[in-house]
Structure formats: C-alpha cells, structure tokens
Symmetry: C3
Subunit: 483 residues, 3 copies
Amino acid sequence: MNNTRSASSSVSPATPDLLDNHRQSSCGEFSRLEKRMGPRNMTFHSKSMPRGSMFLDQEAFRSSHDKSSLQEEDKEITESLPADRFFDALQGPELETLKEKEKIVLPEDKTWPFLLRFPITSYGMCLGVSSQAIMWKTLATTNAERFLHLTQVVNHVLWWISLVLLLAVSITYLFKTIFFFQAVRREFKHPIRVNFFFAPLISVLFMALGIPHSITSNLPSMLWYFLMAPVLFLEMKIYGQWMSGGQRRLSKVANPTNHLAIIGNFAGALLGASMGLEEGPMFFFAVGLAYYLVLFVTLYQRLPTNETLPKELHPVFFLFVAAPAVASMAWTQLCGSFDLGSRFYYFISLFLYFSLVVRINFFRGFKFSLAWWAYTFPMTAVATATIKYSGEVTGLATQVLSIVMSGAATLMVIGVLVLTVMHAFVKCDLFPNDVAIAISAEQPKQKKWFKQLKNGSFGLKVSDKEDNQIDVEAPPLLNAHTV
Amino acid sequence: MNNTRSASSSVSPATPDLLDNHRQSSCGEFSRLEKRMGPRNMTFHSKSMPRGSMFLDQEAFRSSHDKSSLQEEDKEITESLPADRFFDALQGPELETLKEKEKIVLPEDKTWPFLLRFPITSYGMCLGVSSQAIMWKTLATTNAERFLHLTQVVNHVLWWISLVLLLAVSITYLFKTIFFFQAVRREFKHPIRVNFFFAPLISVLFMALGIPHSITSNLPSMLWYFLMAPVLFLEMKIYGQWMSGGQRRLSKVANPTNHLAIIGNFAGALLGASMGLEEGPMFFFAVGLAYYLVLFVTLYQRLPTNETLPKELHPVFFLFVAAPAVASMAWTQLCGSFDLGSRFYYFISLFLYFSLVVRINFFRGFKFSLAWWAYTFPMTAVATATIKYSGEVTGLATQVLSIVMSGAATLMVIGVLVLTVMHAFVKCDLFPNDVAIAISAEQPKQKKWFKQLKNGSFGLKVSDKEDNQIDVEAPPLLNAHTV
Amino acid sequence: MNNTRSASSSVSPATPDLLDNHRQSSCGEFSRLEKRMGPRNMTFHSKSMPRGSMFLDQEAFRSSHDKSSLQEEDKEITESLPADRFFDALQGPELETLKEKEKIVLPEDKTWPFLLRFPITSYGMCLGVSSQAIMWKTLATTNAERFLHLTQVVNHVLWWISLVLLLAVSITYLFKTIFFFQAVRREFKHPIRVNFFFAPLISVLFMALGIPHSITSNLPSMLWYFLMAPVLFLEMKIYGQWMSGGQRRLSKVANPTNHLAIIGNFAGALLGASMGLEEGPMFFFAVGLAYYLVLFVTLYQRLPTNETLPKELHPVFFLFVAAPAVASMAWTQLCGSFDLGSRFYYFISLFLYFSLVVRINFFRGFKFSLAWWAYTFPMTAVATATIKYSGEVTGLATQVLSIVMSGAATLMVIGVLVLTVMHAFVKCDLFPNDVAIAISAEQPKQKKWFKQLKNGSFGLKVSDKEDNQIDVEAPPLLNAHTV
C-alpha cells in the first residue's frame, strides 16, 4: 500500500498553489486539478480530490468489488456526517485526534492542501488581537488610568493589525468555502467547531467596538442591525439544536467553546448600547443571559453524557471568564452606570479568572495549537472590565489590579503571537492535517455488532437512538466473555 | 377471544347515557349499570365496570385459576400505578400511545363511555379562549392600539364564551370524578397529565384577568387568596415530587407541559398585582421564577433520562413561550412600569417564539388532538405581552408586531376551534379511547427476567430502584446471546 | 478471629485519655502509645495505631505472605482514598454506613479513641447555637417585635454559650488534626464531609454577626478580610472540584450538604455589608448567587448520577431553606432596604420551608446523630429573615409569623440540645465509631472482575474513568449468567 501511495505523491507537484504561500508542498495536484476543472464542479473530496492519486488504497480495495459497492462508497463520502460519528471517531478536548482503529478518507501520510488544513478556529487570532485593541482604547480613555499617560496610538496600531488579520483570515476561509465546500460543511457539523463559526461575527463586533476615536466616534446604527442579523440567525440554529437536535442536544455537546455562541450576544448588546440604541441591545442581552444561565449550569454539572469535556483542565476553560466579563460591560452600557448588576457579572468573571489562575498546573503540558488564540481574549475581556471597574471604584487596589491584568493579557497575546509565528514560519506545523474533517462516514468493521444490536436482531430494545451510548458500552465485554 | 367479546358487546345497548350527548354509542351497559348501582359503589373498573361484558377475556383466563389469583388481579386493577408503569407501557410525546406487547384493562375494540374518554387536557380549550378574552381586552384598552378603534365587545363576547366553556368542561369533569374516580386518579398519576391539573386553576385566573370592565373593574382581593390557595397546594405537591419523588423526579419527568405548573404562579402574580396586592403576588412570582429557572435549564439540557421529550418538535414546545410572556406582564404589574425586568422576560419569550416559528416544519404531520388547545394560549400570551410592550415603546414597528401577532394568535384559535368542532361532531373522534389511563398494572410476561433481576436472584446489585433504567437495557441481549 | 481480638482488647486499659472526658473506655492503649511515642511520628493508623492489638486479623493474614505484600498493604492504608471508594464502600444519606461485604481497617467491635470518633459535623452544634444568638439579637432590636419587650440578655447568654462551644469543638478538632491527621484528611476527602469544613468558618461569621451590642457595635473591617480569606480559598478548591474534579464533579457529588459551601458567601456578605463595606461583600454575594443557582438547579433535577441523594427525605433537606434566607438578609444589608430582591430570596426560602414542613412524615424514623444540628440553623435563619421582613411589612400576620417561626426554631434547638446531652452523657453513643473514615482503600475481592475490566483485559473500552459507573453495573449479572 505504501508503494502505491508514494508513487502517487511523486506525480509532478509542479504548479504551485496560489493560496499556499506558507511553503506547503506536495499538494500541487490539487491546484492543478482545481484549475483544470474550475471551482464549480469541485466538492470536498468525492469530486475535487484526485481519486487516482489520493485514494489509491481505497481504489485497490475497490477493484475487488463490483460497481454497486463503489457507488455506495461514493455516497458515503459525500453524505453529511451525523454528530455521533464525530464523537465515535475522534477524541481529545476538542475532538481533534483520531481514535485508534478509525480511518480517515484522506491520506494520513501526506500534507493536504493548505485550504483543507486551514480551520475555522483561525479566527481565534482575530478575537485575540481585536480585543486587545478594545482594551488599549479603554485604558487610554479611562480617567482612573490617566496617570499612565497612554495615548490612543496603541489602540490605533492594534486596530489596523486586527483589520489586516481579519481580512486575511476571511479571504482565506472564503476560498476554502468556494473550493472545499464539503470541508466547511463538515466543520459546521463538527460539535465543537460549529461554535467557532461565531468567531468571525464576534471579531467584527470587536472591530466596531475598538474603532479608534480618530477614525470615527459615531458609527451608524444601521450597521448594528446589519452585524447582528447573522448572529441572531446562527444562534437560532445552534440554540435550537441544543433543545431539539437529538445528537446535538446540550446535555451531549456541552463544552466550554459553547461560550462563543453566547458572547456574541453580550458583545452585540455592548456595541448597540454604546451606539445609543436601547431595545435591540436589551433583546440580545436578555437572550444571551438566559442561555448563558443554561450553559453555566450545564457546564458546571459536568453531566456524564458530556463526552467532550476533558478530564484535565485546558486553556479552553478560560472561555468561562469571557462571557460574564463582556456581560458586565454590556450591562454597564445599557444602564448607564456600573451598578450592582454590572458588579454581579464582573465579580463572577473575576472569581472564575482567579479559580483558573490558581490551577495553573492544569494548563501545562499541552501542545500549541491555533485554538490557543481563543484562550487569550477572555483574559483581555476581564482586564477591560477591570479597567471599567477601576473607573467606578477608584483606588490604588483597583488601579494596580487593572494594570496587572492588562499587562498579563498583553503578555499572553504577545507570547501566543510569537508561538504562532514560530510554528507557522519556522516549524511549519501551525496547520497540521485536519483529521477532524476527514473522518469516514462509516465506523470500522469491528463494531458491526453495534449495528446488529441497533437493528434489534439480538432483541435489544433501544428505546431512543440518542441514548444508546449507555447500552453500547456493554456488548464488547459480552463478546469477550462468551467467545 | 374475539368471539366472547363481540358476544358481550351485542348485549342491548339500549338506555342512552345522559352525559353522552356526542353520539357515542355502544356504552349503554355502563349507564345502565351506573343507574342501577348508584354512583356510590362505583370505582374505575374493578367495580363499576361490567365484568361480565367487558372483561370477558380476563374472566376466561381467571376460570382456570383459583380464588387467590383472582383476588390478586382485583388488587392489581384497583391499586394505583407507579410512574414507572406509565413510562414502560406508553410512548409518544405525551405518553398517549400504547407500546407494542402491552395490554390494557379495557377492551380496545369498543368505544368506552364518554366520561372515561374525556381527559383533563380538555381544559386546554378554556385556556385558549379565555386568554383570547384577555388579549382583546388589552388590545382595546392600550393607547398605542387606539388607532384600531376596537371596542370591548369582542372581549365581552369571548369572556362569556369562555365562561360557558369552562362551566361545561368543569361539570363534565366533575361527573368523571364522581363516576370514575379511579380514572381521574390515574390521570393524576400520569407523569404528563398531572401538569394539566393546573389548567382549570389557570383558566379561572384567566377568567378573572379577562373580566370585562362593564361587569366589574374591582374584584375583591379575598377572591385572589381563594383562587391561589389550590395553586399553592398543588405546586407544593408537584415541586416536592420533582425533588424527592423517586420515579417522578424532575430529571425523569421533565417535558414542556411542566410549564403549566409554573404559569399559574405568574398568572396569579399578575392578577394579584392588578388588584393592588403586593406581598402575595411577589411571593408567587418569586417561587415561579425560581422553579421556572430550574425547569428552563432542565428542558434545555435534554437529559438522557428525559424519556418523555420527543425527538421531533411538537406543538407542546410552544408552552416554552407562555411562561416568560406571562412573567413579563406580571413583573410590569408588580413594578408599575415596563422596566428592564419586564423587557428581559418579554424578549426571552419573543426569541423563543421566533425560534419555534422558523421551525414550522417540525409542527407538521401531527394528528389533531385536544392537546393542541394548550398550544394556542402561548401565542395569545406573547401577543398580549407585545401589545403591552407597544404601549411602552411606541412606534410603527411595535404596532405592526402587535397586530401581526394578535392576528396570528386569533387565527390559530379559530383554526383549532374549527378543527375541534369538526372532530367532535363530524368525525366524532375528538375523544378516542384514552389508553393512557387503562394500562395494566403488570408488565407483560416477556419481561419477567426484569423482575428477577430486580429481586436480585441473578446477583445484580441494583443500588437504587430509580436508576435501574440504565441497567435494565442490557439483559435482553444477554439472553439473546447465551440462550 | 474474635478470640485474638478480645484478647487484645483486654490489654490493660489503664491510663485514661486526657481528652476523652466522655467516659469512653477501652482506648487506653492509644493514649498510652501516644504518650510514649509523642505526637510527631503518629499518623492515622499505619503508624500510630497499635498494630499488635488492633490489626491482629490483618496480621494473621499477613503472616502467610511475604514482605512485599506487607509493604503494599502499608501503602494502601496510608495512601489517600479516591472519591470513588467512598461511594463504593459506604451508603446512606450521608455516606456513613458501611455496605455489606466491605471491610474497614479499624476493628469494628471495639470503641475507637475519642478523637477518631469526633467528626467535623460536630461544628453543626456551633452553627445551631450561634444562629440562635443572631435571631434573639434581631428579635430584640426590631421595632415590629418591640411589643414583646425582649431584652438583649438572651442574645448575650447565647453568644457566650456558643463561644464556649465553638472553642471546645475547635480545640478538640485541633487535637484530632494533630494526632490523627490522616483521619482529618480522609474526612476532607469524603464527598459529603468536605462540605462541613465550611461549618467552622460559618460559625465564626455567625459569632461576629451575633455579637451583643454591649460588647461592641463596630467590628474592625480588617477582621472581615481575615475571616473571608479562608472561605475564599476553600470555595475555590471545592467549586473547582465540582467543575473539573473527575470523581468529585457536581453531577456526582451534588447533595443538600453542598449548601454549606454556599452559605458562607451570603453570611460573609451580610457581615461585611453590616460593617459598612461594599465591594467585598458584593463580590461574595455575586459568587455565592452564581453557584447557588447551579446547585439549586442540580439538586432539583436529581440526576441519576447523584448517588448520595437519599430516596427518603431527611433533615439535611432543611439546608435548602438556609441559603436563600441568609441571601435575603445579605441583600437587604447590601441595598440598604428590604427591596424586591430581598423579598425574592425570602419568599423562596419561605416556600421551601413550607414545602418541607408539610412533608413532616419524611422526617421521622431517623436515628439521632450529630448531623441533626446542621438541620437546626436553617430554621433559625428563616425565622430571622421573617423578623426582618416583619420589620418592613408591619402587620399582625407578619408578627404572628415571626413569633411562630422563632418559637419553632428555638424549640427545635432546645430539643436537639437535650437529645445531644442525653446521647452524650446518658446513652454514651453520641460519637459512634466513624466507619466513614476507616474504609479500606481496596474493594473486597468479589469485585476483582471490575479491575480486570478497567484494565481492559476483557476488551472493554471504558472511554472515561468517570463514566464507568454506568458500565460497571452490568458485569455481575453477566458472571452470574455465564458461570
């Protein structure tokens, strides 16, 4: 098998990919094919992928089968995956690692085309940098921090950096959507990744919040409605799945990245209220608070059905801090003052932050990945809220707290930025093969008993398709015992 | 068996039932018996039911048994059913359909007496019409809607209709309580139906809220205490079961109809506050909010133990909308203005409403049933809240929203009314045999292994009777394997 | 075996234990050993325990083994227990009763030394009496209750009693910490007991709240920071475990005693606000409210994984009442008036109180134990809140309610006090052998299949160590069937 593979990969990787400016090689055949066939009739892999070269092992397998089985596999590859498959085939805190015995539909031993390896989680970078722009804007405009004599230049510079970053990431992802729509679709079906589809929307909200005063101080309120419409539609989709989605119901998919589905509401309420709107922002705040409550309770309960919550704490837990911090700022803006409500959210955010900081040991030993960016903006958010708090409760303690937390957030962003650049350009492993989007639709053969059981041929009464997880664990030992 | 049955049903169905004015035939023997024996010594089926005619198959079975087994079965029929039996024997979103292999204690191939077929869910009609009366009252008295030039006549007419309806349903159900007390008791034990016992209480509250100004504007505050006492007692019972009731605990019985157990609190708070009371309404509002919070989180989590939540969305999900809508109006009345709190509940209600409306496809393909009435009043409630909101936030948008939502609610009520009348008088299938109250106390014989396991004869350590659901699924496949 | 044991217990119980002033005999050898060896090299049982006398059965067993197995057992005894072991080995509402087939590392047929039998739950006495001191202080200083002509003498007397009691209990427990540190550590690891470690901290807060006016009216605000620091650290530890602790996660350990982990926040907020502080108390209130919300929902759901919640209601359920009652008083103090927020918490507390009182039957048939003391202070707390409420809403009804509830609380405290004295000095069974801290680290041999399964030797894929409860129930019946 290896022979056929290596033979295929030696097929002229001549024409360089236009988008692949990160020195990834060996994907020439993709770009070549894409150019020849045009983007229209390209889908994820069943069509746009060079069958002859990349699916050689499958081809070999197929040759011993008839046409019907070939067609069946075709269908298998293009059909959308149920959420269960992601849970079955993947493991790790973000469902990114393939389980043993599972196979993927793309070759594991080659580097895939850059676009296929470019995940939606890349928007985490935009969140991190644009939230920094907001923090430095707040730092420069809060009276309590005036003694620092900061100018708005930092905000200005950061804002332009985040604009460039946002455009770069968006254009890249747009190309991915055009050329590999199936891959994007699979990311959208992925129980963890789907939450990151809020990240571009939140990034834009952050850009609007962090816009330097020298550019404009008054954004048109029409913009707000334009920005919040996709947030509203996406959360109707996601919250609806939580309640009614079977395999995607909340008791199953709950994990800290769900916070991203909430933060958009609070960021939107903050933006709207700072524009002078009233009813719309309150609407988003109310909806956000109601679902935040559901999420907070669910995450804290750590239900036995939450398969995605890792035992070891993980940077993703920092997302716990972001939602109440942004909520605090939004409420302050809605009410016009940092009142008891603002304090309520702010103190919860502060407590969660300290709770996580003292567990610093749990945040070691993890390999760097793009997702780390999503862990930087909560620190920035709570630092910004602290600056706002220090504007209300003036005193040495709050000023020191503001400076320490802002400094920690900035250092964290710089650190992650350096790591990102190093991994992107030096180690060239920032974008590894994204196995999460390439799992096969079928489970490996060893688990055939499972299907038989599901079909009731053994007399097992599985009342609800969603619940059979519980039953499913038993059979293997049964086999082990009786066979 | 069929022979004996058909023979029995041919026994002179001569004397018509007094209460059965809906053209149901073939239950003459019931009314005859009831008249002869008097209502006193009539219980559900063990006594008041004509053994010789309806339980012939059981009788045939009994003839081959001794006296003791006969007595045992007697006990079995009269004894109250544990909640588990309802879950075991029934299926469907409202536990109304009999599972395969399950048997019922009443003959399936005959139409039962009308009273036995008259369920507590009939009060849904009262909820739907009386809430419309409130809506039209609000519509006629809100300044923002004055341009419609509505008179209070619609409110007046609707209020009298709902009064007549409420009296009719109540008298009928009272007769059911008198003649078939066991059937009522079984409805009260039914995990879904029990929530509908709040419906008569809420209907009366709605009647008091919707009373036309021409009748009275000042209800005596004594009335409020009189109306809320049964609500308080019933919810102490139900909420207590949620926490401590074993088989009826919340993680097991949670489903959207539970909202009925909460809405009484908010409706009561609204009525009390509009009467000028303060402490009592606040008490009910606080308790309602605390339990609504628990319920909202639980329903959104969709725990794996919630067997009653259907995979497909169902009109019953509209009950999600009602509680926050009524809470919004109650809070407005308690605080004296449509403040941030009122907006909070109202916006949640609005978001839930839109979430459900966009899922319109999920609400198709369901057979009409009486329970649909309970799905109409949430629409009316949110429309009424919208009218109140448009009184606070005046503008074209809110006025249009009020009119559209009021119109939709009214159309829905008219639609369901037409369907009800059609099914009641044309198709004559509005009240089918109510199998939910006639399940046998014993599980069918096939499941005998279950009992053995429970008794520990196989060495299974079932730690908690309530948890054995999880264990129970395994054995059948074990048998299938080893046998 | 009994022979060797009784022989050992006859070994000269001559020197009386200094601390054992409750007439417990037959533990002379402990005190003798302790004196001879000094407290330094004494650990729980592996070292401080007289091997020759108390572990004779183990010794007998060991004699047939080699050195390595002996060392292994040594390690087994000193190593800290995982939370799972407590759930596996113990049962009952507070995990205090040993399950069948389980063995303990201390002899069951002897009375252990007093310190080993002195549990952390003893602080419940301090909670009960010191909360009474607060109640009588409130009763004497509220205008609405002035007609009772109460002096502050009762408060004064009760405060001194609770001070003495607190010192006595603390000194005793301090000795336990010094001499039997392993036992204290095991109490801290015990899923239920760990919550009682908040009790000493709350007791001190209650002492500060109930301090008579004649001693001081102005406590230094420094004291507050000093008192709240350990509360903050302990709750960071506990709440962190709820979220991330694997076996100690909330969905597993949730039970009414968790309320003790919340009440400290509200009591601290109340104390701080009454001292004139603002930000600190609000911080604790916010954090307390957020976690109370999580706890309230979790406890009401009664998840199937909550093994520790007893089916029968138990006095421990009264803890439900305490948290909202204290929260109501804290909020009143924070806002400066008994506003809608205060009413909200108070009414919830009142409803829960009534809900429990009407279930009086569930509180019968339980053996008296020290833990009952923890059930008295919720009654006192809600009575105190009622007095405060009657100060806001004056009238005959609230005055009667205040007096009735204060009377009930006082009677309950007196009753439990009498029972305690009787059990301590007459029946001498107040402190039975505390089996909860003496369970062996290993499960009994019958469950060896469990380990094999866990190690995967049967091919069982246990995805998450925390979830295997569900899987674990199946195998025994498998064995029973196939063997």
